[in-house]
Amino acid sequence: MSRAAIFGLGAIGALALCLSASSVHAQDASNPRRQGARPIGEWSDEPIFVPSSESFTVELRAGAYRPDLGPAFETSFGGDLGPLVAIELDYHLFRIPYIGPLQIGARIGWVEWNGDARTTSSSTNVGGTGLSLVPITALASIRIDGLARHLSFPLIFTPKIGLDFGYFQSGTSGVTQADGWSVGLDWGAQVALELDFLDRRSARRLDEEWGLNHSEVFFELFGSTMGSFSDRQLPLGTSLAWAAGLGFTF
C-alpha cells in the first residue's frame, strides 16, 4: 500500500479518536454526577433518552484498488494500488423489523496510478505516465444492525449492490492520450464495528448535540465489473478490492 493510502487511513482514525475524545471530555466537564455533586431532590437517575430519527449513513473511505487491465497495467504501474478514496451517502428508505434499514445511496471516489514514461531510445527522465479513475456508484444495500439494536452486539453487516459509472483519463509525458466512461455492476460486503459501546453516554450526547445516532469503523470487500459488458469500454473493474473507513448514521 502506498504512503497516501496509509495517510488516508491514519487521517480517518485520527478523526474518530478526536470525535470520541471531545465527546468524552464534554461529558466529564458537564456531568455533575461525575464530579460528585448530586442535585438535591433528584428522583430519577437518568432522563429517558429518545434517540433522534435515523435517515442517512455517510462513509469516508480509503482503500486499495487495482483494475483488471492485464500485463500492461503491471508494466506501467508495477504494484501501485492507488489508493482509492471515496465518500458514500446512503438514505434509509425503511426499516425492516429486527433486520435493519434498506438503503439507497451514491458513492464518488478518486484513484490514480502513476509510473515512468519510456522512450525507444531508452532515455530517462522523460516524464510520467498515469491513469486516473473517478468511480461514481449508485447503490442499494441492507444495513443489518439488528444485532446492535436488539442484542447490544456492536457489529453491523451491510451487503451492497449497485451500478458503477467510471470516468477515466490516461496520459503520458504531460499529454492526455485517452479518456472515457465505463459502466458495470458493483458489489460489496461490509462489516462495521459500532463505536457506541466504548462510551454510551458520549454516544447519546453526540446524538443530542449533533444528531449523530451512531459512529462506526468498517472494513469492506468489494468488486466491480466496470467495462466488462462492452468491448468498447475500458475494463476498469476489479475482481476484489478493499476499503476501510469511518461511518456516521444521522
Binding site: L69, G70, P71, A72, F73, T75, S76, F77, Y91, L93, I104, A106, W113, G115, A117, R118, T119, T120, S121, S123, T124, N125, V126, G127, G128, T129, G130, L131, I136, A138, L163, F165, S170, G171, T172, S173, G174, V175, Q177, A178, D179, G180, W181, S182, V183, S230, D231, R232, Q233, L234
Partner: protein, 370 residues
C-alpha cells in the same frame, strides 16, 4: 532613622525636597528612554533581482555579491536608517561620514579616533572614503542613505578590487573628523563583496523525449551557484552549424530557453513541442551556470536534444489489445450508457431520480406527521 531626619525638616523644605526628587526621577527616566531608543540600525533595500533583505542583514551584499557588470552599472545601494542620532533643535549639526576599515588590526573599527587616518601609513586602520557624497545634515530619524559601488571600492571595478569590504557609517559633527571617538549609538557597519569570477561551465548530456525532455548535466564549479540557463539553437543542427560554441559566452542573439534556480542545479526540462521540433527532429543545446553574483559561466559542451515518441500505459495497453493508439482511443473514448444517450446524461438522470425519491419520501413523512 530616615523618617526621623525627614521629620526634622520644615514642611516647606520637605515639599521642595519631594519636588526635586520627582524632577530628578523624570529627567533620569527621559534620558534612559532616549538611550533605549537611540541605538542605530539599518536595513538594505532590495538590490537588483536579489530577494528582499531582512532587517539588519549585514551580509546582504556578501551572500549576494556585486558582479562586474553591477559594479560597472554603478547603481545605487540604498539603506534605511533607524535610530539616527539627529538633533531636532538643530543646535548640534550631525552629518554622515563613510570609512572603510577593519583591515589593519584585528577587531579594530573606525569608531575609535586613533583608527581613523585621512592619510595613508602603517597606522591607517581605517580609510576615509571621501568619494561618497554623504546625506548632509541628519534631519530625520529614518533617513535613506545611498552609495554607488564605484564610490565604495578603492580600485573601482578593477579585478584587483575583488573581495569583501567592511564599511563604517558614522554620525559626526564634521566629515573626516579624526579627533573624536564615536559613540556606539552613532555608527554602524555593513559589508559588501565584489565577485567578478564566473563559475566553470558544466558538462551536459544528450537528451530525448517529447513534451518533457529531461536535461541533465554535471557541475564542475565548486562555488555555490544561483542557477543555470539553458540555450537551445532551434535554427542550428546537431553536429553541424550552430551559434552555440562550447567554452564561449552565450550568443547575444539567443535568449535562455529555460532558467532554473538553485544552489547546485543539475536538471532542467524542455518541451519538444514548444521548441518547435517534430518527432525525429533535433537541435543543439548548451547550458551555462551562474553564481550568486550573477556571473554567468561560458557555455558547456554543445549537446543534442531530440524529440522522440514517448510511451506509457496507454501505448502498452493498446499494444496488449493489438490496436493502434488511434484505434484504441476511438474505441474506448466517449462510450454511451444507453442507446442514443450519452453516458453523462444517463448518469445525471439517475442522480435526479434518486433526489426526487428522497424528496418524495420526506414530503410523505411530513404529511403523515400532520
Amino acid at each position: 532613622m530616615h523618617d526621623r531626619s525627614l521629620a526634622l525638616l520644615s514642611p516647606t523644605r520637605r515639599l521642595a525636597l519631594l519636588l526635586v526628587s520627582l524632577a530628578a526621577a523624570l529627567v533620569g527616566n527621559a534620558i534612559a528612554t532616549q538611550r533605549a531608543h537611540a541605538q542605530i540600525t539599518y536595513t538594505f533595500q532590495t538590490y537588483g533581482d536579489r530577494g528582499t533583505p531582512t532587517s539588519g542583514a549585514t551580509n546582504y551584499l556578501v551572500s549576494w555579491p556585486l558582479s562586474y557588470e553591477e559594479c560597472l552599472d554603478n547603481e545605487e545601494i540604498s539603506m534605511v536608517i533607524t535610530g539616527a542620532p539627529y538633533d531636532a533643535t538643530g543646535t548640534t549639526r550631525l552629518e554622515w561620514d563613510l570609512w572603510q576599515g577593519g583591515t589593519g588590526t584585528a577587531g579594530a573599527n573606525c569608531q575609535t579616533a586613533t583608527n581613523r587616518r585621512t592619510s595613508g601609513g602603517s597606522a591607517a586602520v581605517c580609510v576615509h572614503r571621501p568619494g561618497w557624497d554623504g546625506g548632509g545634515q541628519i534631519t530625520s530619524t529614518m533617513p535613506t542613505i545611498t552609495f554607488r559601488p564605484q564610490e565604495l571600492f578603492p580600485d573601482g571595478c578593477e579585478a584587483t578590487a575583488q573581495g569583501t569590504y567592511v564599511f563604517y557609517v558614522l554620525a559626526v559633527s564634521a566629515p573626516g573628523d579624526t579627533t573624536t571617538d564615536i559613540a556606539a549609538t552613532a555608527y554602524f557597519a555593513f559589508n559588501v563583496a565584489l565577485d567578478f569570477e564566473a563559475p566553470e561551465a558544466p558538462e551536459l548530456e544528450d537528451a530525448a523525449g517529447d513534451r518533457q525532455i529531461g536535461l541533465e548535466w554535471t557541475n564542475i564549479a565548486t562555488e555555490t551557484l544561483a542557477g543555470a540557463r539553458v540555450y537551445v539553437d532551434t535554427a542550428g543542427t546537431c553536429g553541424g552549424t550552430t551559434s552555440l560554441v562550447a567554452g564561449s559566452a552565450a550568443p547575444s542573439s539567443l535568449s535562455p530557453t529555460v532558467e532554473v534556480s538553485g544552489s547546485a542545479p543539475t536538471t532542467a526540462t524542455l518541451d519538444g513541442v514548444d521548441l518547435g521540433l517534430e518527432i525525429g527532429e533535433s537541435a543543439p543545446v548548451a547550458v551555462a551556470v551562474f553564481d550568486t553574483a550573477r556571473n554567468e559561466s561560458v557555455l558547456s559542451n554543445v549537446a543534442c536534444v531530440e524529440r522522440v515518441p514517448v510511451e506509457g500505459f496507454w501505448d502498452d495497453y493498446c499494444r496488449q489489445e493489438m490496436l493502434s493508439t488511434e484505434e484504441c482511443r476511438s474505441r474506448y473514448s466517449g462510450c454511451s450508457a444507453l442507446p442514443g444517450m450519452p453516458l453523462r446524461d444517463g448518469g445525471l438522470a439517475l442522480v435526479l431520480i434518486a433526489i426526487a425519491a428522497v424528496v418524495a419520501r420526506a414530503r410523505k413523512q411530513d404529511g403523515g406527521r400532520r
